[in-house]
Symmetry: C2
Subunit: 124 residues, 2 copies
DNA sequence: TTGATTTATGCAGGAATTTGAATATAGTAT
DNA sequence: ATACTATATTCAAATTCCTGCATAAATCAA
């Protein structure tokens, strides 16, 4: 009886068991984001984000890329998004429309800086 | 920020987090089965099966139907099978081929009785 | 009713996980 | 080198969960 598959499947589901981790994956849906962005976007403390990122990273669901001070994370396998779509539909609700809408947040990283209207601090 | 979806999604994943529950769902893939069948097929004790069935039932993933002494369970929403297929593919391995192969087990319920070669106990 | 069979539930010990605070590491700039 | 920023990790407390035992409920037969 090869239940190794079942165990690995269960581990995968276990990784997806937490709302914060699901929120992180949804935030990464459109492409890579730095930790500071996730912090500002999702409203969790930095250490907490980092911990949940570590769980997702160890499960090989996301991968990181360092660029200077910032670390950018992205989804490692696209099929995880299909999984999120299906379950999202199962519990009712369109896919992450609300989450994407709130994407313009004040994040200091170079990538996010361009996508914002100039803040007051940048003006004379 | 409507994270109700995320919470419900997380609950769904939490329900699928356990190998025994996944095994039960796989056993129900081809149609309804009674508890005694699951007991014999999966090799868990009766109380344990019943507990895991209760978890799945409360999550509305399976429904029960009583027929005399026996209670038959079946999958409540087919899309859960799609979910299992996708994750099964993600962790590697074909869908439940091994589980279905071992389906002929000695189970006393009326439904299973017909699908077995006559056991020694039924002969004079 | 009594007894037998099938399934469900309540409870307690122990294991695993989440959570938050404190601290450590890596990179950049002065 | 020192200071500073961004991210990671460690550690302990609290909560939650799994597991197994004992027992209860439901159904049928005599």
């Amino acid at each position: 009886m090869s239940n190794n598959h079942l165990i690995r499947q269960a581990h995968l589901f276990r990784t997806l068991m937490h709302p914060a981790r699901l929120a992180i994956l949804e935030a990464l849906r459109d492409g890579e984001e730095c930790v500071c962005h996730l912090e500002a976007h999702l409203g969790y403390r930095q250490a907490y984000i980092s911990q949940q990122l570590a769980v997702l990273r160890k499960a090989k669901l996301i991968v990181d890329r360092r660029d200077g001070l910032n670390v950018f994370y992205r989804i490692a396998r696209p099929d995880i998004l299909t999984l999120l779509d299906i379950t999202r539909a199962m519990v009712g609700g369109s896919v992450s429309a609300d989450l994407r809408a709130a994407k313009a947040v004040d994040c200091p990283c170079p990538k996010c800086a361009g996508s914002l209207v100039p803040s007051a601090a940048a003006l004379p």
